[in-house]
Assembly symmetry: C2
Homo-oligomer: 295 residues x 2
């Protein structure tokens, strides 16, 4: 339906304007509510972020998290380990944080340098403090349709769609990318919302054949401008989860300038999914804080 209307509009006016989703505006109420709630807390909620090595992306995401946590009053602890630190040192730090009653959430900045056993390190996090929804038990509970801590990007995509009243049930949704923190949980989230979901990735042949038919196209590859104008259907909803660059400015998966002339709704890289995902992270931290408090 969106497609037909936008095609008609395009015929009438030559070109349509997308609704560009404003992540900051979309989340302002969430942040204001959390901020107001924390003002009344005797003990502030707290999150610990562990970085290993000095990757630019790790620093970028960690500093974004620190900023948003500080803005609402969540106490932010940062632990930085040099690349080469023994794995056991990191494991022991996580165990210490698991046992620290004043820590509500634990985040490991991924990817870790290759020599580390990422799965083992992630699964050391207590399930109740796994605010990015990465442990086996949280993933299994999410897939099995049970209460779980869910990856923030999946929550963000769901929130963006629902807040814009974009119907998902029965739609052709194409997710490009199958990362454990992004593509896969996003696909699972939209499948649970009754979308017909296709997962494309680096081994997909003729990617455009899939993307061109998508009512809702979600790209989460981290490959700059992989989604071009001729790969998108008129009137499609285009959600850009990918982010790369980090040196001077960040770049998304979507060729925004051109694709925005075809899409009905579109997100930007600076103020889209990743901005909303930060608000979802705040919600997950508060969820862990309240669960602990009510025990």
């Amino acid at each position: 339906m969106i497609g037909i209307i936008s095609s008609l509009l395009k015929k009438l006016w030559g070109e349509i304007m997308s609704v560009v989703i404003d992540g900051t505006e979309l989340c302002s109420t969430i942040q204001d509510t959390i901020k107001a709630d924390i003002k009344n807390c005797m003990i502030r909620p707290s999150v610990a972020v562990i970085q290993v090595g000095d990757s630019i992306s790790g620093q970028y995401f960690s500093s974004k998290k620190e900023k948003v946590c500080s803005s609402v009053g969540i106490y932010f602890r940062s632990y930085k380990f040099e690349d080469g630190t023994p794995e056991l040192t990191i494991i022991n730090k996580i165990k210490e944080l698991n046992n620290d009653e004043y820590v509500n959430g634990i985040i490991i900045e991924l990817p870790l340098p290759v020599q580390y056993n990422e799965k083992r390190i992630i699964n050391t996090i207590s399930n109740g403090k796994d605010v990015e929804g990465m442990t086996d038990i949280n993933v299994g509970r999410f897939i099995n349709g049970k209460k779980a801590l869910i990856p923030c990007t999946a929550l963000a995509v769901d929130y963006i769609l629902s807040q814009n009243n974009i119907q998902v049930a029965g739609k052709n949704v194409v997710v490009v990318g199958r990362g454990k923190a992004t593509g896969r949980p996003i696909a699972n989230m939209l499948l649970s919302r009754d979308a017909t979901v296709t997962i494309c990735h680096s081994k997909t042949k003729s990617l455009a054949e899939y993307t061109k038919n998508a009512d809702i196209l979600i790209s989460a590859t981290g490959i700059p401008c992989i989604i071009k104008e001729d790969m998108v259907k008129d009137g499609a909803v285009v959600i850009d989860v990918g982010i790369s660059g980090f040196n001077d400015s960040v770049v998304g998966d979507v060729d925004f300038d051109k694709v925005s002339k075809k899409a009905s709704y579109i997100t930007t890289v600076e103020n889209g999914v990743n901005t909303v995902a930060l608000a979802m992270l705040l919600q997950n931290i508060i969820l862990c804080y309240n669960t602990k408090k009510n025990k």
Copy 2:
């Protein structure tokens, strides 16, 4: 490539003949090996099946499992509870079986009558005895790419494809059905084999638009003959996981007589995925038995 060859053959001879996969033949080596191994065991491997109520499908599957287990020498215990038995009685039976060192695998015949908390009951099974790969932790480990007990139908589909040298990487795979024991794990399995995977289900609009493009079409709905001739591409591989009927004879998801004239490979309902899945169940039981033995 398969599609091109079969189209050419069809042009030459008017109609192609499918390779009809013989599940029994495909698994004979597995069963023979397990049987020979068990002959040398002082303590036989053992599996317990719990049935609640008297559904025809539960009786059908349970008796199939009993037969195949007996044929290789796995000790089979059957526990039947009337519909209406208190949930705690079933939970306590599972706990008893978890603690019984002579029980290697525990199976709950699904679906349970509606008043039972299926998720709670399944997650009472010890992860190391969950031979149908249904607990949250086994599902999470499987999704996260770790060693796990994997649902038998997903293993069966993977085995059928690999034993017939059917390439999966890069192929357009369409899975119809999103059940937790069938469609979802099959989709995850083939995604891990680098297929581009689309998951269709009851809310999918224009199902045929997806199935017609599938290189490999897998149907797991339990709706008799939902997959018709005009929904299948020439030369496609068609795997029928669905099974219904159970009174006089079982019926599959695929209109076999007609679809087999278009498919390059096809399975039957009587001697296809479900037959291979029983062999995979034997392998899972032996895996649990050996894991325990080596502890």
